[in-house]
Symmetry: C2
DNA sequence: CGTGTAAGGAATTCTGACACG
DNA sequence: CGTGTAAGGAATTCTGACACG
């Protein structure tokens, strides 16, 4: 796994990087838009990927989009990626069979 | 600047990533092998680059090298990089003059 | 709904020092 | 020299709640 995915940043760093308040960051998590890890003590740990996701979320919020709509978009995006991956895998399998 | 250089990790995360104790991490800084940033409150902030540097340091320590020796090595390494960069710049300038 | 804030407590980090070797 | 540890304090984060709208 690359640095971008490592869950290591404390919420304060994320707040500085994104410009979002601690309240907002925690609220977006509450709405399921984000899933940081937790330390043994219970403190949140974020990745740089989470930071990017948050900036994306912030943009949508600014545009007047509601959290549940953003949540929907995330699901659709994941669905698209899934389909695309299955397509690729299918093509590869087909090509593999052809090669024999 | 890339994620790798951003000073954002708290010392606890660095400890987990490197497997080094907090004491060791702070001590290597005291010896000048490392220069994390500080938050307003005074807490240390590390980059992934610092994490890599620490694993390097740990290896040298295991080999019985002393901190001042590691410090020397770091200086030599920097010197080499500097010379190399100047070489490249020189070559580029020469090529540029030739092209006119 | 999305966000600010005050409140009390818990987790994290800080420094300087003593210990051992 | 390099590292562990106990000590006291400060910075950071956590949760649940009230407020506004």
């Amino acid at each position: 796994m690359s640095y971008k995915e490592k869950k290591v940043l404390p919420i304060g760093a994320v707040s500085e990087l994104t410009g979002l308040s601690l309240r907002k960051i925690r609220y977006y998590e509450e709405r399921g838009l984000l899933l940081p890890e937790r330390s043994n003590g219970g403190t949140r740990k974020y990745s740089f990927n989470d930071v990017e996701k948050l900036m994306d979320i912030a943009n949508h919020i600014e545009d007047g989009m509601q959290t549940f709509e953003i949540k929907k978009m995330q699901k659709k995006k994941k669905q698209k990626e899934k389909v695309r991956d299955e397509m690729i895998r299918g093509q590869l399998n087909a090509a593999f069979r052809m090669s024999k």
